[in-house]
Protein backbone atom coordinates (compact mmCIF):
# COMPACT_ATOMS: atom_id res chain seq x y z
CA UNK A 1 0.00 0.00 0.00
CA UNK A 2 2.97 2.23 0.57
CA UNK A 3 3.60 4.76 -2.16
CA UNK A 4 7.19 4.90 -3.31
CA UNK A 5 8.65 8.36 -3.57
CA UNK A 6 11.72 9.33 -5.61
CA UNK A 7 14.85 7.70 -4.34
CA UNK A 8 18.17 9.53 -4.31
CA UNK A 9 21.64 8.64 -3.09
CA UNK A 10 22.30 5.67 -0.86
CA UNK A 11 19.01 5.77 0.98
CA UNK A 12 15.51 6.64 -0.11
CA UNK A 13 12.31 7.32 1.76
CA UNK A 14 9.15 5.38 1.18
CA UNK A 15 5.94 6.58 2.74
CA UNK A 16 4.17 3.70 4.30
CA UNK A 17 0.76 4.53 5.58
CA UNK A 18 -0.05 1.03 6.78
CA UNK A 19 3.07 0.33 8.84
CA UNK A 20 2.97 1.94 12.27
CA UNK A 21 6.65 2.87 12.62
CA UNK A 22 8.03 6.27 13.44
CA UNK A 23 11.65 5.57 12.81
CA UNK A 24 13.46 3.68 10.11
CA UNK A 25 16.01 1.06 10.96
CA UNK A 26 18.98 0.12 8.85
CA UNK A 27 19.27 -3.59 9.44
CA UNK A 28 22.98 -4.05 8.75
CA UNK A 29 24.22 -1.19 10.85
CA UNK A 30 21.49 -1.81 13.40
CA UNK A 31 21.01 1.86 14.15
CA UNK A 32 17.79 3.83 14.29
CA UNK A 33 17.55 6.75 11.89
CA UNK A 34 14.99 9.48 12.18
CA UNK A 35 13.78 10.54 8.73
CA UNK A 36 14.82 14.07 7.98
CA UNK A 37 12.09 16.70 7.66
CA UNK A 38 13.93 18.30 4.74
CA UNK A 39 14.09 14.96 2.99
CA UNK A 40 10.37 14.37 3.41
CA UNK A 41 9.62 17.93 2.25
CA UNK A 42 11.65 17.30 -0.88
CA UNK A 43 10.43 13.79 -1.63
CA UNK A 44 6.77 14.65 -1.07
CA UNK A 45 7.13 17.58 -3.56
CA UNK A 46 5.85 20.02 -0.90
CA UNK A 47 9.04 22.10 -0.87
CA UNK A 48 9.39 22.44 -4.69
CA UNK A 49 5.71 23.43 -4.95
CA UNK A 50 6.08 26.01 -2.18
CA UNK A 51 9.22 27.46 -3.77
CA UNK A 52 7.59 27.58 -7.22
CA UNK A 53 4.49 29.28 -5.79
CA UNK A 54 6.57 31.88 -3.98
CA UNK A 55 8.60 32.60 -7.11
CA UNK A 56 5.43 32.87 -9.21
CA UNK A 57 3.89 35.28 -6.71
CA UNK A 58 7.07 37.32 -6.70
CA UNK A 59 6.95 37.50 -10.50
CA UNK A 60 3.30 38.57 -10.44
CA UNK A 61 4.06 41.26 -7.89
CA UNK A 62 6.93 42.55 -10.04
CA UNK A 63 4.59 42.71 -13.03
CA UNK A 64 1.92 44.38 -10.88
CA UNK A 65 4.48 46.86 -9.59
CA UNK A 66 5.99 47.77 -12.95
CA UNK A 67 2.85 47.81 -15.11
CA UNK A 68 1.14 50.96 -13.67
CA UNK A 69 4.17 53.31 -13.90
CA UNK A 70 5.07 52.04 -17.37
CA UNK A 71 1.46 52.33 -18.55
CA UNK A 72 1.14 55.78 -16.98
CA UNK A 73 4.37 56.91 -18.65
CA UNK A 74 3.21 55.65 -22.05
CA UNK A 75 -0.13 57.44 -21.61
CA UNK A 76 1.72 60.61 -20.57
CA UNK A 77 3.95 60.40 -23.64
CA UNK A 78 0.94 59.92 -25.94
CA UNK A 79 -0.85 62.82 -24.28
CA UNK A 80 2.28 64.94 -24.65
CA UNK A 81 2.46 64.11 -28.38
CA UNK A 82 -1.22 64.87 -28.91
CA UNK A 83 -0.86 68.23 -27.15
CA UNK A 84 2.29 69.05 -29.12
CA UNK A 85 0.58 68.27 -32.44
CA UNK A 86 -2.68 70.08 -31.67
CA UNK A 87 -1.16 73.16 -29.99
CA UNK A 88 1.87 73.26 -32.33
CA UNK A 89 4.14 73.98 -29.37
CA UNK A 90 5.61 72.03 -26.47
CA UNK A 91 3.19 71.89 -23.54
CA UNK A 92 4.33 73.18 -20.17
CA UNK A 93 5.63 70.38 -17.94
CA UNK A 94 5.65 71.04 -14.22
CA UNK A 95 8.87 69.95 -12.50
CA UNK A 96 8.61 67.36 -9.74
CA UNK A 97 5.98 64.73 -9.17
CA UNK A 98 2.27 65.48 -9.16
CA UNK A 99 -0.36 63.85 -6.91
CA UNK A 100 -1.22 60.98 -9.28
CA UNK A 101 2.49 60.38 -9.91
CA UNK A 102 3.10 59.98 -6.17
CA UNK A 103 0.08 57.73 -5.81
CA UNK A 104 1.24 55.43 -8.61
CA UNK A 105 4.80 55.46 -7.33
CA UNK A 106 3.81 54.49 -3.78
CA UNK A 107 1.53 51.73 -5.09
CA UNK A 108 4.30 50.44 -7.30
CA UNK A 109 6.85 50.52 -4.47
CA UNK A 110 4.53 48.52 -2.19
CA UNK A 111 4.12 45.89 -4.95
CA UNK A 112 7.87 45.70 -5.44
CA UNK A 113 8.43 45.37 -1.69
CA UNK A 114 6.03 42.45 -1.61
CA UNK A 115 7.83 40.91 -4.58
CA UNK A 116 11.07 41.18 -2.60
CA UNK A 117 9.35 39.52 0.38
CA UNK A 118 8.18 36.58 -1.74
CA UNK A 119 11.58 36.18 -3.37
CA UNK A 120 13.28 36.30 0.04
CA UNK A 121 10.85 33.68 1.37
CA UNK A 122 11.56 31.41 -1.63
CA UNK A 123 15.28 31.85 -1.07
CA UNK A 124 14.95 31.08 2.68
CA UNK A 125 12.95 27.92 2.06
CA UNK A 126 15.19 26.69 -0.71
CA UNK A 127 18.37 27.36 1.31
CA UNK A 128 16.89 25.43 4.22
CA UNK A 129 15.66 22.42 2.24
CA UNK A 130 18.24 22.16 -0.56
CA UNK A 131 21.11 24.37 0.57
CA UNK A 132 21.11 26.29 -2.71
CA UNK A 133 19.20 29.02 -4.55
CA UNK A 134 15.53 28.65 -5.52
CA UNK A 135 15.99 28.28 -9.29
CA UNK A 136 18.74 25.71 -8.95
CA UNK A 137 16.78 23.73 -6.37
CA UNK A 138 13.71 23.75 -8.63
CA UNK A 139 15.86 22.44 -11.46
CA UNK A 140 17.21 19.68 -9.20
CA UNK A 141 13.69 18.73 -8.06
CA UNK A 142 12.43 18.71 -11.64
CA UNK A 143 15.25 16.49 -12.91
CA UNK A 144 14.74 14.14 -9.95
CA UNK A 145 11.05 13.90 -10.75
CA UNK A 146 11.75 13.20 -14.42
CA UNK A 147 14.26 10.50 -13.46
CA UNK A 148 11.79 8.82 -11.11
CA UNK A 149 9.05 9.02 -13.75
CA UNK A 150 11.36 7.45 -16.33
CA UNK A 151 12.42 4.66 -13.98
CA UNK A 152 8.81 3.88 -12.99
CA UNK A 153 7.85 3.84 -16.70
CA UNK A 154 10.71 1.43 -17.47
CA UNK A 155 9.67 -0.74 -14.53
CA UNK A 156 6.12 -0.82 -15.85
CA UNK A 157 7.10 -1.80 -19.39
CA UNK A 158 9.65 -4.43 -18.37
CA UNK A 159 7.00 -6.43 -16.52
Amino acid sequence: MGRKLPVGGETGITTNMSTPVNYATIAVAGETVKTSLRRVLDDSHVAPIAIALLLARSLFEVIGGLAPPIGYSILGAIWFLILTVTEREFPLISPGLSGPDLLILSESISHLARAAEYAFAAWLLSRWVYGQGPLRSLRVAWSKRRRSNASSFEGGTSR
Binding site: T14, P20, N22, A24, V40, L41, I49
Partner: protein
Protein backbone atom coordinates in the same frame (compact mmCIF):
# COMPACT_ATOMS: atom_id res chain seq x y z
CA UNK B 1 -12.23 6.19 5.32
CA UNK B 2 -9.50 8.46 6.68
CA UNK B 3 -6.88 6.17 5.24
CA UNK B 4 -8.50 6.37 1.81
CA UNK B 5 -8.65 10.17 2.01
CA UNK B 6 -4.97 10.21 2.94
CA UNK B 7 -4.07 7.94 0.03
CA UNK B 8 -6.09 10.08 -2.40
CA UNK B 9 -4.46 13.29 -1.14
CA UNK B 10 -0.98 11.80 -1.56
CA UNK B 11 -1.53 10.04 -4.87
CA UNK B 12 -3.17 12.99 -6.66
CA UNK B 13 -0.63 15.53 -5.34
CA UNK B 14 -3.53 17.57 -3.95
CA UNK B 15 -2.04 17.27 -0.50
CA UNK B 16 1.39 18.31 -1.73
CA UNK B 17 -0.02 21.36 -3.52
CA UNK B 18 -2.12 22.41 -0.51
CA UNK B 19 0.78 21.88 1.86
CA UNK B 20 3.12 23.75 -0.48
CA UNK B 21 0.70 26.66 -0.53
CA UNK B 22 0.40 26.69 3.26
CA UNK B 23 4.13 26.33 3.83
CA UNK B 24 4.86 29.05 1.26
CA UNK B 25 2.44 31.40 3.03
CA UNK B 26 4.04 30.62 6.38
CA UNK B 27 7.58 31.19 5.17
CA UNK B 28 6.46 34.38 3.42
CA UNK B 29 4.99 35.71 6.68
CA UNK B 30 8.24 34.85 8.48
CA UNK B 31 10.20 36.67 5.77
CA UNK B 32 7.88 39.66 6.25
CA UNK B 33 9.03 39.82 9.88
CA UNK B 34 12.36 41.21 8.64
CA UNK B 35 10.89 43.58 6.06
CA UNK B 36 7.74 44.85 7.85
CA UNK B 37 9.50 47.20 10.34
CA UNK B 38 11.44 48.81 7.49
CA UNK B 39 8.38 49.41 5.31
CA UNK B 40 6.38 50.60 8.34
CA UNK B 41 9.12 53.04 9.25
CA UNK B 42 9.30 54.35 5.66
CA UNK B 43 5.52 54.80 5.56
CA UNK B 44 5.46 56.66 8.89
CA UNK B 45 8.37 58.82 7.80
CA UNK B 46 6.43 59.80 4.68
CA UNK B 47 3.36 60.54 6.80
CA UNK B 48 5.47 62.59 9.20
CA UNK B 49 6.60 64.78 6.30
CA UNK B 50 2.97 65.65 5.53
CA UNK B 51 2.09 66.40 9.17
CA UNK B 52 2.71 69.88 10.66
CA UNK B 53 6.11 70.62 12.17
CA UNK B 54 6.60 69.65 15.80
CA UNK B 55 4.88 66.28 15.67
CA UNK B 56 7.04 63.48 17.10
CA UNK B 57 9.43 61.72 14.74
CA UNK B 58 8.45 58.07 14.10
CA UNK B 59 10.95 55.64 15.50
CA UNK B 60 12.00 52.27 14.20
CA UNK B 61 9.56 49.83 15.84
CA UNK B 62 10.10 46.08 15.55
CA UNK B 63 6.68 45.54 17.18
CA UNK B 64 5.00 45.84 13.80
CA UNK B 65 6.47 42.49 12.81
CA UNK B 66 4.94 40.56 15.72
CA UNK B 67 1.59 39.78 14.02
CA UNK B 68 3.48 38.49 10.98
CA UNK B 69 5.66 36.31 13.17
CA UNK B 70 2.65 34.83 14.96
CA UNK B 71 0.83 34.22 11.68
CA UNK B 72 3.92 32.67 10.06
CA UNK B 73 4.62 30.34 12.97
CA UNK B 74 0.94 29.31 13.05
CA UNK B 75 0.89 28.52 9.31
CA UNK B 76 4.17 26.61 9.45
CA UNK B 77 3.02 24.58 12.46
CA UNK B 78 -0.23 23.65 10.72
CA UNK B 79 1.70 22.74 7.56
CA UNK B 80 4.12 20.55 9.53
CA UNK B 81 1.27 18.85 11.38
CA UNK B 82 -0.48 18.09 8.09
CA UNK B 83 2.81 16.92 6.57
CA UNK B 84 3.29 14.58 9.48
CA UNK B 85 -0.25 13.26 9.10
CA UNK B 86 0.08 12.75 5.34
CA UNK B 87 3.65 11.57 4.79
CA UNK B 88 4.75 10.01 8.08
CA UNK B 89 5.57 7.35 9.16
CA UNK B 90 8.24 7.02 6.53
CA UNK B 91 10.74 4.25 6.26
CA UNK B 92 14.24 4.26 4.86
CA UNK B 93 15.25 2.08 1.98
CA UNK B 94 18.94 1.22 2.43
CA UNK B 95 21.51 -0.39 0.19
CA UNK B 96 22.40 -2.82 2.92
CA UNK B 97 24.44 -5.41 1.10
CA UNK B 98 27.75 -4.67 -0.59
CA UNK B 99 26.59 -6.37 -3.82
CA UNK B 100 24.17 -3.48 -4.39
CA UNK B 101 20.88 -5.21 -3.54
CA UNK B 102 18.59 -2.97 -1.61
CA UNK B 103 16.26 -3.83 1.23
CA UNK B 104 13.15 -2.04 2.27
CA UNK B 105 13.18 -2.28 6.02
Amino acid sequence: MLHRLKAALVDNYVGAIALGYLLGDGVEEIATVFIAPLSEWARLKELHRLLPQGSPDPGFSPLSSLPHLAKGVFYVLIALALLRWLYYPAKVEAHARPDGESDVI
